[in-house]
């Protein structure tokens, strides 16, 4: 019982004493202590033991001189090599700096070009916006004009007017081109927005013509009865037709010649577009004048 606390302490003390010096001494102290090669002391001790003449100052001989020569050579080579490498790395550094400066200049140029191009892009975008606006306005105008002049199909509420000659009427009592023109004018005055006759859309260029007893519109023959699809306000147009001066003229004419005449609500109607007018003398002007001039110049030279 008394031995228990003693045993570990005694073992620890014995172990510390037994351990070699290089285990117990800290590493840095050890390095400092043994900075001299132990071999020198070892050889000196052996020489003393063998009883050689202990010369107090053994002189370095030729071998040591040769080794020192090698040492000097080594140091010089290392120094020369380092300075040579330094000049080489200096040169490469200078080249790199030059390249950096060169590239930086190039970058500046590119940046300036980028700025210029961006400004150009902005200008072009503004121009595009202008042109788009103009284009939209032109489209809207074209649409409006197309509806008005009859070159665009339209749809809307309207009335249906049917005209025919009186049955068993003489040739001079048939419905003629001038009668239909009068009715059309009256319808326009009454507020018609688009008119087609027997499926032929009336345009600003349309005219009724008589060839013999047949009536032509848009150079297409019509067969009686003549059915007018008229888009406009179906509530006001019949009344306007009656009350206008030209409408009154039409009613007088039809009563005099005994035409059968019928006006009724047409509901929602779809009117076709008139065939494109063929231009004979007029032609589209070249859109890009500059382009044409360039071509002219090329052919001239």
């Amino acid at each position: 019982m008394a031995e228990a606390p003693v045993t570990p302490r005694s073992r620890a003390g014995r172990d510390a004493a037994d351990l070699p010096e290089h285990v117990t001494v800290p590493l840095l102290s050890l390095i400092t202590q043994r900075s001299l090669d132990a071999d020198y002391e070892h050889v000196a001790a052996r020489r003393r033991a063998s009883g050689e003449a202990a010369s107090t100052h053994p002189v370095p001989r030729r071998t040591a001189g040769l080794v020192l020569l090698a040492f000097g050579l080594l140091v010089t080579i290392a120094a020369v090599q380092t300075s040579r490498n330094a000049s080489a790395s200096d040169a490469s550094r200078t080249t790199l700096i030059e390249q950096i400066n060169l590239r930086r200049d190039g970058l500046n140029d590119v940046q300036k070009r980028l700025d210029r191009e961006q400004a150009r892009v902005l200008a072009l975008q503004a121009k595009t916006n202008d042109l788009t606006t103009t284009d939209q306005a032109a489209q809207a105008r074209l649409q409006r004009l197309g509806v008005r002049t009859g070159f665009v199909p339209v749809k809307g509420p309207g009335i249906q007017v049917t005209v025919n000659s009186a049955p068993d009427s003489a040739d001079n009592q048939l419905v003629r081109d001038s009668d239909l023109t009068l009715l059309t004018d009256a319808l326009w005055v009454a507020g018609a927005e688009a008119i087609s006759v027997n499926g032929h859309r009336l345009t600003v260029l349309s005219a009724f013509r008589n060839v013999g007893i047949a009536v032509l519109v848009n150079n297409q023959p019509l067969t009686p009865p003549y059915v007018f699809d008229v888009i406009g306000n179906p509530d006001t147009m019949p009344a306007n037709l009656l009350s206008s001066a030209i409408g009154e003229k039409w009613y007088t004419l039809k009563d005099g010649l005994g035409f059968r005449f019928d006006v009724r609500d047409g509901g929602t109607m779809n009117l076709p577009a008139a065939p494109d007018a063929h231009l004979r003398s007029a032609e589209a002007a070249p859109d890009a004048g500059g382009h044409t001039r360039t071509q002219t110049g090329d052919s001239g030279s």
Binding site: S35, H57, T63, G72, L74, V75
Partner: protein
């Protein structure tokens, strides 16, 4: 005397011939120089202590150089060349400093 002469002749030869070191040996040269420096200072201290020996000096010089270079070479192969060089230089540096301190004590009898 012969030692100083040898050192001088070595430096002059190096300056005259400036031999090219193969680029493969480039990283080991500075370490070899430091190791050689350690051996030279150790020899100087032994000389001043009166226990200098030619054979020990030659052996310690070459073994120092070869081992230092070999350690760095091994470190390079293992990918820890920089750290191993640092370790070698620290140990050799400490040895050089303590040897120089001893030499100073002998020279100036301080």
């Amino acid at each position: 005397m012969i030692a100083a002469l040898g050192l001088l002749v070595g430096v002059i030869l190096g300056l005259i011939f400036t031999p090219d070191v193969p680029s493969g040996l480039d990283p080991y040269l500075p370490i070899a120089v430091v190791a050689a420096l350690d051996a030279v200072f150790g020899a100087l201290r032994a000389y001043l202590e009166g226990i200098f020996d030619d054979k020990v000096f030659v052996v310690s010089f070459f073994s120092n150089v070869v081992i230092a270079a070999a350690i760095v070479y091994l470190g390079d192969k293992l990918g820890v060349g920089g750290q191993l060089s640092t370790g070698v230089i620290v140990v050799l540096g400490i040895r050089i400093f303590s040897n120089v301190a001893q030499i100073r004590r002998y020279v100036f009898h301080a």
